[in-house]
């Protein structure tokens, strides 16, 4: 350590205080704890950041502040009783969480889902995707300093979707809607027409949103070449969802698995080229446009009929001994539920594969060498919800 530094440091050294080593810039390294109550961390998430001047030299993500024993609780609950808990994983996308869990249980017990219920699932899942991506972009802009405006526009659209969810499921966020072998209730009269109206007006919102943001020079300056993830790194780290596709890997579980009835919808999978934050923003916009197409087709094709497999009953549900893994393309990536049944009314093992947590793997790598302000933007583009990261 050179003594030709700030007089205060010399004084500290005289008193025998331990000083952290200096960085490349010659300035002492500074350790900052960002979070867990920092407004940019999207919940109770903490990053221990070591800074050399303004540059990040080390970053350690610390999570677990929202841990609530989700997987252990599930081993004590009935299969049905777990459904409302899955709402609370990624509380923005409760309907896709429901679907992933229902899919795992249906695989476990070998239950068929009626046609109309499949369509209702696709409609609710794609609405969830619209809502999640719109909100994510809003929050990303908020993190970047566009205080409020894009976020409020996103919230305005989200509110319309939430009203639709409330009319269908009874709750804006904690829907508890899917059941093993179908859905809990049928769409009320006129609901599909309301969805149709909302879907028809959504492209206009997207156009306006893009006019506001896509060409914005500040947005470009803050996001392009920031937080680059290469194709190889993305695959090796197990990233999924928009994070992976922004790096140019064509992997969408809706296409790969074709779960539910997704193979009936001819949608395209947008891919990024650079794997930077701007690509991750753009992927979300393009995915929303594809979701609108899926919704339009689903609303046109949805048949009448039952919404629940009549063989399944809500109480005393006991799948046969076995194990199953059900996964879907949630708006954030691959959301999977792994279940082991021992033939009783409660799962023997219940495991969640959360996209938010696994997409955080490369956080340090993305942030190294960037400025402090970029950490916030990079974290915002990963799209995490702490309910899912910590479980």
């Amino acid at each position: 350590m050179s003594s030709a530094m700030h007089p205060a440091m010399d004084m500290a050294a005289e008193r025998g205080m331990q000083l952290s080593p200096a960085g490349e810039s010659g300035v002492q390294l500074l350790e900052v704890s960002m979070g867990p109550q920092h407004p940019s961390t999207h919940g109770v998430f903490r990053m221990d950041v070591v800074l050399d001047g303004e540059k990040v030299v080390k970053l350690k993500p610390v999570f677990g502040y929202l841990h609530r024993n989700h997987e252990k609780i599930a081993e004590k609950e009935t299969y049905l009783g777990n459904m409302p808990y899955t709402d609370r994983l990624d509380y923005i996308c409760s309907l896709t969480n429901n679907w992933a869990y229902a899919l795992a249980v249906e695989k476990l017990a070998g239950i068929e889902v009626p046609e109309r219920a499949e369509y209702l699932r696709v409609i609710t899942a794609e609405l969830t995707r619209l809502q999640n991506h719109a909100l994510l972009i809003g929050f990303l802009m908020q993190d970047m300093g566009a205080s409020g405006t894009p976020l409020m526009y996103a919230f305005r659209e989200r509110e319309k979707i939430q009203d639709l969810f409330e009319a269908l499921t009874g709750s804006r966020m904690m829907s508890n809607y899917m059941r093993f072998g179908g859905c809990r209730v049928d769409a009320p009269a006129g609901w599909l027409a309301e969805v149709g109206k909302m879907v028809a007006s959504f492209p206009q919102f997207l156009d306006e949103f893009e006019a506001l943001l896509t060409g914005n020079e500040i947005l470009m300056a803050r996001t392009q070449e920031v937080g680059v993830v290469t194709r190889e790194r993305a695959v090796n780290a197990g990233l999924t969802g928009p994070m992976l596709r922004a790096s140019g890997v064509n992997y969408d579980i809706r296409k790969v698995d074709g779960y539910g009835i997704y193979n009936r919808f001819p949608f395209r999978v947008p891919l990024g080229e650079h794997g930077d934050t701007y690509d991750r923003y753009m992927i979300r916009v393009l995915e929303m446009r594809e979701s609108v197409k899926i919704l339009e087709q689903a609303l046109k094709e949805i048949p009448d009929g039952p919404i629940q497999d009549p063989k399944t009953k809500p109480r005393n549900f006991r799948p046969k001994v076995g194990e199953a893994y059900g996964r879907i393309e949630s708006p954030k990536g691959e959301l999977g539920f792994y279940l082991i049944s021992d033939g009783t009314g409660t799962p023997y093992r219940y495991r969640v594969r959360p996209p938010s947590l696994i997409n955080l793997t490369l956080l340090e790598e993305m942030c190294l060498g960037h400025n402090v302000a970029d950490i916030v933007v990079i974290l915002g583009s990963v799209d995490i919800v702490l309910g899912e990261v910590d479980r």
């Binding site: 609950e77 009783g81 409302p84 526009y153 009874g170 306006e208």
Partner: protein, 212 residues
Amino acid sequence: MLGRGIVEGMLETARNFLGSYVSRERLTTVQYPEERLAHIENARSFPFLVYDGADWQAGMRCVSCQICEKECPPKCIYIEKSVDKKPDAVGRPQNYPKVFNIDVSVCMSCQICVEVCPFDAIKMDVEYELGAHDRFGGLLLDKQRLSKSNEYYHRIHPTEAAAVDAALAEERAKMQAKQQAAAAAAAAKAAAPVAATPSAAIPSAPATEGKA
């Protein structure tokens, strides 16, 4: 040209700002609590107990079968079964809950209790302004606070309540037909010297008609 994107974005902001003066589409907020939105029919907040007729104790549909207590995921329901019996919504003599508490600070509004209730006794309310100064007593709702009339249920969930009433009326009709058959059988038996049959002790169905 540098700055063009920003200017275009500003135009978008101006469009929304000025539009909010003329279009409801762009001004979507309401001034709560002075101004309120009508609740959506399927909305749900916390459970309540339905009773028929005017007296909440006599008309209580709950027969304290305790299925909801067992199935409730966060276990926020506490029920104590009565020793004596009273006629339920369809006229069968049944137990009733001596104690029925729901801790709404624990309840997560999942409505699984509603789904598993075989007696249509527990339904979801739409009341959401439940703030209380006492977080223990104020949010622990007892039987009396939970009881709400069937008319109230019809007011908040008209479609669902009508379906429930129709199903109950059907069941009640079946029950009455059964009782009449039993009474006829008893009358036939009355010719014999031993007359006291248990069916004569079954009270008639409570006055619950006239809804919907």
